[in-house]
Symmetry: C2
Subunit: 350 residues, 2 copies
């Protein structure tokens, strides 16, 4: 199996280094032969080649059996609304080119981190949500326009039936292996694209009579996620609402630094933390590598079908947390100094 | 002063009844002469007239000095993506027709309710956020399309410079009377409309050098709101992001049942709870009327400039909570049975 490592920007390099070490450890322990290559994306790719997603990177991605991804983004573009080339374009282009239409974001709290969240433990205990975020449609990819006088700007929020159907099917299939509940999130009381979304999900739901379906408006879902996260099993939603709700839901898992995601679709799967490039802590060696480690676990499971290997990674993370080890973002006042680890030391423990 | 009561659907009637009683009590106590009228909107208006916003209602709104609003919505339309007339259209048309471009949503926790939230008290204590949600633009009002084969649906997310500028100015003006911090929320790393948003807010920010400005992406803001609500003072954002973030932020105030909003702009101001029509509890008499009461307080302050009267209402709510009275949504295991009130009894206490 050939794995492409794409660190990207900011802390991407620090965390994927650890993710790769874990893959190497698994290969050694279980007798697999993984080969690796590396490629550029985002700001570092723009600096080196002028493009956020160089052709060479795309070719390597297509040739790989799976991609372990870091993060993209750089503050220099964020407050320059007129920048022509942006790191994020590389990420979006990759999703589109590889047909990565389904972004799976499992939100589950490790028991040891109950206290790391801003939400009360009794609200969190037992919460276990699997998000299916649609990843290649919506306002992300609809036509963008700026009027000639620069005073009007627009983005087209658009969905097609087949795009909604295929992600809904993935969500319902997954629900069958879990608690058989799907919550579809939209804004059908206002948006036409959401009305199509709801129509198609209702149709797909009929094919899964054994799965319970609920429709929620995005505003209400944003509230319920915090009020009562346990009521959710599988959540399926569009690209924009999924972006917002999964970041919000990171608080259910104690820290963004713990959350992995899998982007799958027509070809090579891409595995990445849901956190961003975090330039404020880049180079300090304090980033939490566990989201990248858990991304590696998803990679082993979903792209390679290596269930036992994937579970071994998750068990290792669990053991490390049980032993009291913490990175800064998941530490609290009770964490003793010798258990507070930097990125590399946390990687070594896992 | 002439006040139009527009109860709308679901619990709207139950809660505005209490809101009106509080206005009457204030008028009696402070020697004002308020007159009242009533009008239909939403599902009840569709049933009576075929229109979600009857002309008569709009005329009455224009003639009033302020509007006390309930809620709109009905489950019958929610799962029927093909419905032609919808209660929500009445609400959106009202906002557009009255030029209510600024929706103010103050999020502040009454100390007594520290335990009613799903968020930890130490995270919440001291949180005090004032949202400015843009209310007459964005994907709410952009062109909606459905292809002839019904397989493609779209909504145009669109902003114009002047729309962003006027709401930003309101936000900065308000920040000056508070802790002098503005956080503008957008998705400028992906959306052209957000890039215009950021550009304009940056320009307005220059006119307020005494106010600290921060720009956040909406996904990150959705996370930070729960992780560290105290870092926010004034938040300004678009219609869609504002809808999602303020519902989410209701958890900071313990319950959606506590949150009031003011919609202001070119003419008559409209004051309403941020909660919806809540058909699941309609007619049971258990709805929390305090959001409508606090909406009346905002009305007195913003539309009538009656500061002392407004503060008297807020003090009354505070006193009632201090005395231990609770409606169901803000009660907890320690609330004694004789302090658990229904809608009318809570109104009487206030
Ligand atoms: C970096 C950004 C374009 C991206 C997105 O919005 O999809 C990120 O927030 C994510 O969730 O992967
Ligand atoms: C009912 C609905 C159309 C409305 C909105 O989305 O604006 C509501 O959620 C609100 O926040 O006032």
């Amino acid at each position: 199996k050939h794995i492409l490592i794409v660190p990207g920007d900011g802390i991407g390099a620090e965390v994927t280094t650890v993710g790769k070490q874990v893959l190497e450890a698994i290969a050694a322990k279980f007798g697999h032969d993984f080969t690796y290559d590396e490629a550029l994306i985002g700001h570092v790719a723009i600096e080196a080649t002028g493009k956020a997603l160089p052709d060479e990177t795309l070719t390597k991605m297509r040739a790989a059996d799976a991609v372990l991804f870091g993060a993209v983004g750089h503050p220099k573009y964020d407050n320059d609304p007129s920048a022509k080339v942006r790191p994020e374009q590389g990420l979006l282009q990759m999703r589109k080119e590889l047909g990565l239409y389904a972004n799976l974001r499992p939100i589950k709290l490790f028991d040891e981190l109950l206290d790391a969240s801003s939400i009360k433990p009794e609200i969190l205990r037992g919460a276990d949500i699997l998000f299916f975020r649609e990843l290649t449609g919506d306002v992300y990819f609809g036509e963008k326009k700026r009027s000639e006088d620069r005073n009007t700007a627009s983005d087209l929020m658009v969905y097609q039936r087949y795009e909604i159907e295929r992600i809904a099917v993935k969500a319902y299939e997954a629900a069958r292996t879990r608690r058989s509940k799907v919550c579809s999130v939209d804004k059908a009381n206002v948006l036409e694209s959401s009305r199509l979304w709801r129509e198609v999900v209702q149709e797909v739901a009929k094919r899964y009579p054994d799965v319970e379906t609920e429709h929620q408006f995005v505003d209400s879902a944003a509230m319920m996620l915090i009020k009562d996260p346990k009521r959710f099993d599988v959540v399926v939603t569009g690209n924009l609402f999924g972006d917002i709700l999964t970041d919000e839901a990171s608080q259910i898992a104690g820290s963004m630094g713990m959350l992995a995601s899998a982007s799958v679709g027509d070809s090579t799967g891409v595995y990445e933390p849901i956190h961003g490039s975090a330039h404020d802590i880049t180079g300090m060696g304090v980033a939490n590598p566990l989201a990248s480690v858990l991304s590696a676990a998803l990679l082993l499971d979903i792209s390679f079908g290596l269930k036992a290997e994937s579970e071994a990674v998750i068990a290792a993370v669990d053991a490390v947390l049980k032993a009291g080890y913490r990175t800064r973002d998941i530490a609290d006042a009770n964490t003793p100094a010798d258990k507070l680890l930097n990125t590399a030391a946390m990687g070594a423990q896992v």
